[in-house]
């Protein structure tokens, strides 16, 4: 799977309602709906996996695991407890972070100063612009430096909050509150956007 995509715009990322409806059909074993669901969210799933685990082949493995979990657990998805896309991204993040932690020794070399996207390791590959991209970036800009660093190191690098505290040389309690404050600010900004 060495083919590298160029810079392209991903369409249809904002259609959260469709994703919910598709997942409802997937829950009934509808494999055609599953294919459509894949088309809707594959770029988000693969992109996040790629950002966290970095290695393209491992990111593909993570993405495949994610979709299998979505398929298997769709009948248990509870719409009252959040949006389908959030559920899928939560599974993606958890699996990506698990993959990183299983393999941390060789994968997480000195990334104290976290590069912004695109990753330093892959200068040839551009991040595709999702519709969320600009909005999220603008909202991240409303965070304080420490909030943003704490959130990013945890979310994109898979560090635990004690690891983030060590990296940023701050007390544990500070880091855990910054993570919470930061996400709350991001939430409020995205809701207002």
């Amino acid at each position: 799977m060495a083919s590298e995509p160029g810079l392209r715009l991903v369409h249809g990322q904002g259609s959260g309602g469709d994703i919910d409806a598709l997942l409802t059909r997937v829950a009934r074993g509808d494999s055609e709906a599953f294919g459509q669901l894949y088309d809707e969210v594959a770029a988000a799933v693969y992109g996040l996996a790629r950002r966290v685990v970095r290695d393209p082949e491992r990111a593909e493995d993570v993405a495949q695991e994610v979709f299998l979990e979505v398929w298997r657990k769709a009948p248990r998805f509870d719409r009252r407890l959040g949006k389908a896309k959030t559920w899928i991204m939560t599974i993606t993040h958890r699996r990506a972070v698990d993959a990183v932690r299983r393999n941390e020794a060789d994968k997480r070399h000195d990334q104290h100063a976290v590069p912004d996207e695109p990753d330093r390791e892959d200068p040839g590959e551009a991040v595709i612009l999702a519709e969320e991209h600009g909005e999220v970036r603008d909202c991240l800009d409303t965070l304080t430096e420490l909030q943003m660093e704490s959130v990013r190191l945890a979310y994109f690098n898979g560090y635990t909050y004690p690891e983030v505290a060590t990296l940023l040389d701050r007390p544990l309690a500070t880091i855990k509150t910054r993570m919470r404050d930061g996400l709350i600010r991001l939430r409020d900004c995205l809701q207002g956007a």
Binding site: Q64, R72, R80, E132, R180
Partner: protein, 232 residues
């Protein structure tokens, strides 16, 4: 709010260790506002994740679809309870969860949803756990209880709404029996609410007896049911 509450951000970022995450999940079972906050923070985190979208290699789709073809889907939760109680129970959980969402969004402190009998929140949390195992058991006095366990939450719960009503002079009492020694695990004063408790240690049993109102220090009657939660 306890100190645990401030871990919601780290939890939503998957930045807790496995043990801490389980502890926090247990806490969320008792704290509706924490669950709501986590849902919202997760949504914010998910937007960050989605902002990284990148076209996957085209061959991935065929692999995913082929793999899904070979994988059975999980049954919906509590499916094997194919009686009328199932619908009622799920509906009651649903109403409870929806009410909690509305109350939290409105900034109201969630103490109890108004009106009719329903499962208590800690009980509903166990029935809702991703790794829930549940089973129905008949009791010797002609009732049925549903037992659910979750290793993740380290909790078990009993839904007791199908137990026969007792006179005011009597009460159902729960017991945890470790190495043959019963100790009280609480009274079922509200059978509709059910009861949640920490998972007893492996090999321990849980029993229900009918006791005089106010409960007893030691069981004074034969249990109407004895359970081994580790086998649920």
């Amino acid at each position: 709010m306890s100190d645990l509450h401030t871990l919601s951000g780290a939890y939503a970022l998957d930045a807790l260790s496995g043990d801490e995450a389980r502890e926090f999940e247990g806490h969320m079972g008792d704290c509706a506002s924490c669950s709501i906050e986590v849902l919202e923070l997760r949504e914010a985190a998910a937007s960050m994740g989605a902002s990284q979208a990148l076209t996957p290699p085209p061959a991935l789709k065929a692999r995913v679809l082929a793999a899904a073809e070979r994988q059975p889907q999980l049954p919906p939760l509590v499916t094997h309870l194919d009686d009328a109680g199932k619908k009622r129970r799920r509906r009651r959980i649903a109403i409870g969860a929806a009410a909690a969402v509305l109350a939290a969004v409105a900034g109201v402190t969630v103490t109890q949803t108004q009106g009719g009998p329903e499962l208590s929140r800690p009980v509903a949390a166990v029935f809702h756990a991703p790794d829930v195992h549940s089973t129905q058991v008949r009791t010797s006095n002609g009732g049925t209880i549903t037992v659910a366990t979750s290793q993740q939450l380290d909790e078990m719960a009993v839904d007791t709404h199908q137990l026969p009503a007792l006179s005011k002079a009597k009460v159902y009492q729960l017991w945890s029996i470790v190495a043959g020694h019963p100790s009280s695990a609480g009274l079922l004063t509200d059978v509709a609410a059910g009861r949640a408790m920490p998972l007893p240690p492996h090999g321990a049993a849980v029993a229900i007896t009918i006791e005089p109102a106010g409960g007893s220090r030691q069981p004074t009657s034969q249990p109407i049911v004895v359970l081994s939660p580790s086998r649920v």
